[in-house]
């Protein structure tokens, strides 16, 4: 059976088992991962996986099941389990498949180049990442240099006649480097991503890891203060990713978002513009349709500081009397779709990093935060997170600092944005986010 056959069969089997509506998501992927250490291959993997997940609706109740057995009997078993699971759920008046389906034209999701790369060349690339980090004077260790890629296919079908599929490729590499010794050992992360290994720059990834570690050598705990704070692109992306998750209509409707009742309000400085966009050729989470078959699109979320909309799937849209924004996301076939961000894009501004430093004057440049997800109260938005970086003196980077916390609440922070940087990049952790550095007018920094 082809992947589309599997999906269609899953839908038919669920309906045959008594579902009033059904949907099946089938996927398969092959992936390769190379990890090198000290100039040698530490591990190398070659993996294949496939599976199917079926969502069955029975009179307003829904159940989900998944499995790795894609034989006819296997898929029938998954469909029957989804149908059985639906029995124990309570009815949901807003549940059900979307009312309209389709696929947007999204180019460039799969690179044909990936297939042409031998394992040996991928190992060479990974070694080059490690070398680039290790060769920087002052680097004492490269803990990890990792290359990974995946070539995947997806098929989605439902009982309202939708059937679609797409292929996508990903390649990424990262390295973590150490500088300094003992308890003064500092770490730095370098990362790059693309559709195939040819889009990765091993020297830049290794050098970034090294430079981030080197910049922190000799870091001390600073004195507590309130001051302007520049968040680098990694850190800005982490915060933006968190804010994006708070814009989910599901979080809003369940009373778990500090942005509930704030639609239309000014929640950020006018310099801030944020969109969710699943149609970008280079977006890691781009796709022609979302996890339930709604065509992908670009959704402006914040413009001129004003909150324009939340992120909806079919269910939350129905409850709000709105249209879906195609934000039913799926991590894999092992879970039903849920409301989430696709690619979040923070529009760049006009100031480069030096310009942001100059605007900050005396302040703090944060290059790493720890504990963001445990440190932010998702309902009130207050947070206190561990951080490291450099002090800024008269607009220039000065002594490195660590063991400090920065504290504020998300809305105050968004309103205190004074400038958005011009140099945006994709950051693949905490969701898929493209962000430049940002300057926050004032935050509470606590150290000694």
């Amino acid at each position: 059976m082809t992947l589309e056959d599997v999906a269609r069969h899953g839908v038919e089997a669920a309906v045959a088992a008594g579902a009033t509506d059904a949907e099946a998501w089938a996927e398969e992927a092959v992936s390769r991962r190379v990890r090198v250490y000290d100039g040698e291959v530490e591990s190398l993997s070659d993996a294949g996986g496939r599976g199917v997940g079926v969502r069955a609706f029975v009179d307003g109740r829904s159940g989900y099941a998944y499995g790795t057995d894609l034989s006819e009997d296997g898929v029938r078993g998954v469909a029957a389990a989804a149908r059985a699971a639906a029995e124990v759920a309570d009815p949901d008046e807003y549940g059900g498949l979307p009312d309209e389906f389709g696929a947007a034209a999204v180019e460039g999701l799969a690179s044909p180049e990936l297939a042409g790369w031998s394992t040996e060349r991928k190992v060479e690339l990974t070694l080059a990442v490690e070398r680039a980090a290790r060769e920087r004077p002052g680097v004492t260790q490269v803990e990890n240099a990792v290359y990974s890629d995946a070539e995947g296919s997806v098929a989605l079908a439902n009982s309202r006649g939708f059937a679609g599929g797409y292929d996508a490729t990903q390649a990424w590499a990262y390295a973590s480097a150490f500088a300094g010794e003992g308890t003064d050992l500092m770490t730095g992360l370098g990362v790059g991503l693309g559709r195939d290994p040819g889009e990765l720059d091993p020297e830049a990834i290794g050098a970034e890891a090294a430079d981030r570690a080197l910049a922190l050598v000799g870091a001390r705990q600073p004195e507590s203060r309130r001051c302007p704070v520049v968040l680098d692109a990694f850190v800005a992306a982490s915060f933006i990713g968190f804010i994006g998750s708070m814009l989910s209509a599901d979080a809003v409707q369940r009373g778990r978002s500090l942005f509930a009742d704030r639609e239309g309000d000014e929640i950020a400085d006018a310099a801030l513009a944020l969109a969710d966009d699943a149609t970008l050729a280079d977006g890691p989470s781009s796709a022609p349709f979302d996890g339930e078959g709604s065509p992908s699109r670009r959704t402006p979320l914040i413009e001129g500081g004003r909150l324009l909309t939340f992120l909806f799937d079919a269910r939350t849209a129905r409850q709000a009397g709105r249209a879906t924004t195609a934000n039913a996301t799926r991590g894999s076939y092992r879970a039903p779709p849920s409301v989430g961000t696709n690619n979040l894009v923070l529009e760049p501004g006009e100031r480069d990093l030096e310009g942001l430093f100059a605007d900050a004057g005396d302040g703090l440049y944060v290059t790493d935060v720890a504990g963001l997800h445990s440190g932010v109260n998702p309902v009130s938005g207050t947070f206190s997170v561990g951080a490291s970086g450099r002090l800024l003196e008269s607009g220039a980077p000065a002594g490195p600092v660590r063991e400090l916390t920065i504290a504020s609440d998300l809305v105050s922070m968004l309103k205190a944005v004074r400038a958005v940087g011009s140099e945006a990049r994709w950051v693949p952790f905490g969701g898929s986010v493209k962000a430049p550095p940002i300057l926050i007018g004032e935050m509470s920094v606590s150290g000694s």
Partner: protein, 461 residues
């Protein structure tokens, strides 16, 4: 009811070693999980999942080559073994003879959760919802989750090991939101174990009651203090501090790469003589326990800190081979899709002889950190950050007002050295631990522990 016949396993290992290698392993797994949740008064998201798969690994020198596949079909297993062998350069070797894989046992399951009707699981969620809501009118939201899993595992390796395990886990979690005027606070609690339905069947409402109490308490919270203060860390989930700030640094992969601040400290006195800590994957029915680890090594109790001295790291097979020691049974993996790495099982401080009241009574001004929302540590430096989800001020030797927004910032080595009191009330809690892109169940625990001084990052100015 075996997953892979020993004769087939032998053929797979032969194929895996056909181009050389020091060690080969076949790991096969069948997983079945069911979960269901309740939110906003509605039972939803019932989910049932079944997966079968296998992983073949060949180790040559310091390099590991591996591949995984869905299913246990002969053709698939031999194909993945052949593909893994392609990466190896050397002389073919033969594996040792294999016997049948016999299940390890050790963790009694009274009632198999998959044999309990799904409707009873939905009722369990409703009972928790009701209890949490009855705690006060200020409770505005309740979320309850129940999950069960069964993992049947078989491990065969080229040194003749044939081992099996049948692992059943259940877990109940409750999250509660309370509101008063403009103030919103959350509280949560969980109960989980390597156990059957009996674990959650007994008074599940207690979990809901505790979560509700935490949220209500925080409504009266004051801003957290800032500065260097003595801290008493609560028992049970408070052990996440040990797990993050010490345990990860004892995992042999980090140590061997000198990516741990504990590297080179074996035998050193790192804490006061009354401090002892264990990793123990054999504790009956605890959340982080198994019969064998994911390389077939029986789980056991490993003393990591004895009378204040660092006495052992935590090993899997590959890292143990490098240090010429035995594996400590800490080779764990999330699933057949992952390579095993050294991981903690249940990690905890041994009980002391103080009482929690005595530890608190000696503090003029400090913080009582009962529970953490989570934490993060950089193993290379030992630097850690923890969000305190339930905390109180200590004033004049007494626990007084609850605080919100406190963060503990410090360094593992320094914090360990600063442990100046341990109580007698050991408790183990159920958590999930993420490392190298893999999430595994991990038990964290301790009695009440006092740390002389830690940096508290608060919101009060």
């Amino acid at each position: 009811m075996s997953l892979v016949d020993p004769a087939l396993a032998t053929t797979v290992l032969e194929r895996a070693l056909s181009r050389g290698g020091d060690f080969a392993e076949l790991y096969a797994e069948a997983r079945h999980g069911f979960s269901i949740s309740l939110d906003d008064g509605r039972v939803e998201r019932p989910q049932d999942g079944r997966e079968r798969g296998a992983c073949v690994r060949v180790v040559q020198g310091e390099s590991s080559y591996y591949g995984h596949v869905d299913g246990h079909g002969e053709e698939d297993l031999l194909r993945v073994a052949g593909s893994v062998a392609q990466a190896v350069r050397g002389e073919a070797r033969g594996p040792a003879a294999l016997g049948a894989a016999t299940p390890a046992g050790g963790h009694a399951i009274e009632t198999r959760p998959e044999e309990v009707e799904a409707a009873r699981k939905a009722d369990l969620l409703r009972a928790c919802d009701e209890r949490a809501r009855s705690a006060g009118q200020e409770i505005t939201q309740v979320r309850v989750g129940y999950a069960e899993s069964r993992r049947e595992v078989e491990v065969f390796n080229s040194e003749g090991r044939a081992a099996a395990d049948d692992r059943t886990r259940v877990r109940l979690g409750v999250q509660v939101v309370a509101r008063r005027d403009g103030r919103v606070e959350t509280g949560s609690d969980t109960r989980g174990g390597h156990a059957g339905w009996e674990l959650v069947e007994a008074d599940p409402e207690a979990v809901a009651g505790k979560a509700a109490q935490r949220a209500l308490t925080l409504l009266d919270a004051v801003d957290a203090p800032t500065g260097r203060l003595p801290v008493v860390v609560g028992n049970g989930f408070g052990g996440v501090l040990l797990h993050e700030a010490v345990g990860h640094g004892l995992e042999a992969d980090a140590v061997q790469k000198r990516a741990s601040v504990y590297a080179g400290h074996l035998g050193d006195q790192l804490a006061e003589p009354f401090v002892t800590a264990y990793d123990d994957g054999s504790r009956a029915n605890d959340w982080g326990s198994d019969g064998i680890d994911d390389e077939g090594t029986p789980t056991r109790r490993t003393t990591v800190i004895e009378d204040g001295r660092l006495v052992s790291y935590l090993y899997d097979v590959v890292r143990a081979r490098k240090d010429q020691v035995e594996s400590t049974g800490n080779g764990r993996r999330e699933s057949f899709r992952h390579l095993p790495v050294p991981r903690m099982t249940n990690t905890f401080f041994a009980p002391g002889d103080a009482t929690p009241e005595a530890l608190i009574g000696e503090i003029e001004r400090g913080l009582y950190a009962v529970s953490f929302g989570g934490g993060q540590v950089e193993p290379a430096t030992g630097d850690f950050v923890f969000g305190v989800s339930e905390g109180y001020l200590i004033e004049g030797g007494k626990v007084t007002a609850p605080v919100r927004g406190a963060t503990l910032v410090g360094n593992g080595l320094e914090a360990l050295r600063a442990v100046d009191g341990i109580a007698d009330d050991l408790e183990i809690a159920s958590g999930y631990c993420g490392k190298a892109g893999q999430t595994v169940p991990a038990g964290v625990g301790q009695p009440h522990v006092r740390i002389r001084e830690l940096t508290v990052g608060g919101t009060a100015s």
